[in-house]
């Protein structure tokens, strides 16, 4: 019985390369032929990728390869950039996320995001977490909701005595966990993390990584990171993006390889992936 091999890492290496039908993994995002343009320049071209439920999917690759551009398509944050435009489609549980009649705000309500730099609101700790639920009309049991989100983000014990204090007085690592709590408070299904630890020191980084391990039980997580060790530590699946340089000197991001994390780091199928993960390039 193939379905029994749900176990996180090792036994599922066959699936991608042999393109065996993935029966035991539930697809959340099905990305088909996605290209992203800023004005006339192509940022990422022709990405095909499936992202699975309750797994951590890491996007790695050198600077400028379009990882952040790509992840910002998954909750339509790129809509905020007037010149951005996409080709191809992203199916979220089978529904076209960019289809007509889809409201970006309701997309983002289910697909939360945490950014590179901690960006707490200039409000109290409590109000930061309560802001989403309040504005989205989830006012019932707000105190419990805030506590639950802060607990999930492993911040509750540190802040429970000072919920009314300004969030800006927290340390960088605490602020980032607060931002995660803020995203969790509206009970999303997916959490997108765009280099969430790049502005943090190693200790704060490690606490964020522990947190990611915990969170994948309840959420689907996509994380952009330029830190390969981090991808190796936290991710079940890893996608390696790189730059395609054309003859005229123009360059755009492409998805080189997507597989089980262990596979990417130990037996990559593509020589470019191997060059990157062994440190020969990027």
């Amino acid at each position: 019985m193939n379905q029994d091999t749900i176990d996180a890492v090792a036994p599922i290496e066959v699936v991608q390369r042999e393109s065996t039908p993935i029966t035991h993994r539930e697809t959340v995002f099905d990305i088909r032929g996605l290209s992203v343009y800023y004005g006339d320049t192509v940022a990422v071209s022709d990405v095909n990728l499936e992202i699975y439920r309750n797994m951590v999917t890491a996007l790695i690759g050198p600077s400028g390869c379009g990882k952040s551009t790509f992840i910002r398509c998954l909750n339509r944050m790129n809509d905020l950039i007037p010149s951005a435009r996409i080709d191809g489609e992203i199916l979220y549980h089978g529904q076209n996320m960019y289809g007509s009649g889809v409201d970006p705000a309701s997309v983002r309500r289910w697909i939360g995001m945490v950014f590179q730099k901690p960006n707490p609101f200039p409000k109290s700790i409590y109000d930061n977490v309560a802001w989403g639920p309040r504005t989205l009309g989830m006012r019932k049991g707000l105190d419990e909701r805030v506590e639950r989100a802060l607990t999930q983000a492993a911040l509750w014990d540190e802040v429970k005595g000072r919920l009314k204090r300004s969030a800006l007085a927290l340390s960088g690592g605490q602020q980032q966990r607060l931002c995660i709590a803020r995203a969790l408070a509206v009970e999303p299904e997916v959490v997108l993390l765009d280099e969430p630890a790049s502005a943090l020191d190693p200790i704060a980084t490690s606490s964020i990584e522990d947190l990611i391990h915990e969170l994948k039980r309840e959420y689907t997580i996509v994380i952009v990171t330029h830190n390969m060790q981090q991808a190796a530590r936290v991710a079940d699946m890893t996608a390696f993006f790189s730059l395609d340089v054309h003859e005229d000197g123009s360059r755009n991001g492409i998805l080189v390889e997507y597989d089980v994390t262990q596979k990417i780091f130990t037996q990559p199928a593509d020589s470019r992936t191997e060059g990157y993960v062994t440190g020969r390039f990027g």
């Binding site: 983002r108 995001m113 950014f115 960006n119 609101f121 200039p122 409000k123 802001w131 800006l168």
Partner: protein, 294 residues
């Protein structure tokens, strides 16, 4: 021994010349900076020294004396008039200015945004006498001079000031805060009302008060719109009310030296009002800026 000179740490002649020039330019610029400070000090000093003696309790509480040979009375009518006119101007211009700024900064894109900012700049550059004559033609000819007309003229003057300063404060709100709110599925309008405005409230109010300070000293827009006044102290905006800048103008045109002294005293009142408002609002702005960044 001879090649040691190549490593000399003493300045060469050329470098000495440059250092000298450097020093010279620095002194010239410092002089220019001191001149700017000196102008302010001189203005304040001149107004205080000449206006101080005419200040009295009556000066603030009484209207001008109608007795031809007696005391000159006070400027209570002008103080009350200025308060009424400025209140009208603020009630008109503050909400419109803030809404225009929110629209251009948070909602409009690309060309519309640039066009609106450009229009605000033009409006800001309009000579205030033109605003006065505009309201004269629009309102006064068909009705009469009144505090409403004067307030309307000043409102046009304040509108671009408020809108521009609000735009600047909104630009201080980091883009990452908007992103964070949008990423939660919160709409743009809710983000503006619940997050952006509270975060920049101090700065918006600062811009408003600076515009008030500026409008309080304007004379030209009031000349044709709110100048045919009586000496009575009145709060009725339906009639033309005296104002502090106009008092200064009219008193100085009068040959009576006592009225000259009164003009200086009125200038002192105006100056104090403007200085206090400017300093207070700068402090408030600094405070709200700290709140955003820390």
């Amino acid at each position: 021994m001879s090649d040691r000179a190549e490593f000399s740490l003493q300045p060469t002649r050329q470098l000495r010349r440059r250092n000298l020039l450097n020093r010279f330019v620095e002194v010239v610029m410092l002089g220019a900076a001191l001149a700017a400070v000196a102008v302010l000090v001189l203005v304040v000093w001149a107004v205080i020294s000449r206006g101080y003696s005419a200040l009295s309790w009556d000066f603030f509480t009484k209207g001008p004396s109608t007795n031809f040979l007696g005391t000159t009375g006070g400027i209570a009518n002008a103080i009350v008039g200025t308060i009424v006119i400025i209140t009208i101007a603020t009630i008109i211009s503050l909400p419109i200015g803030i809404l225009v700024a929110i629209y251009t900064s948070e909602f409009a894109h690309g060309r519309v945004r640039r066009l609106l900012s450009f229009v605000l700049d033009i409006l800001n550059g309009l000579p205030s006498i033109v605003l006065g004559i505009f309201i004269f033609g629009l309102v006064v000819i068909s009705h009469q001079q009144s505090a409403y007309a004067g307030g309307l003229a000043l409102a046009i003057l304040m509108l671009p000031l408020i809108a521009r300063s609000t735009q600047e404060v909104l630009a201080l709100v980091p883009e990452t805060l908007r992103e964070a709110s949008f990423a939660l599925g919160v709409s743009r309008w809710r983000t503006v009302v619940g997050l952006i405005i509270p975060a920049s409230f101090g700065g918006i109010i600062t811009g408003g008060t600076l515009a008030i300070a500026r409008a309080a000293g304007e004379t030209a827009p009031l000349l044709f719109t709110c100048a045919l006044t009586t000496t009575q102290v009145s709060w009725d905006p339906g009639q033309a009310l005296q104002s502090i800048p106009l008092t200064i103008f009219q008193d100085l045109e009068n040959p009576d030296p006592a009225l000259h002294a009164q003009a200086w005293a009125a200038a002192l009142v105006l100056l104090t009002f403007v200085l206090v408002i400017s300093i207070l609002s700068k402090a408030a702005l600094a405070r709200s800026r700290r709140k955003l960044t820390r």
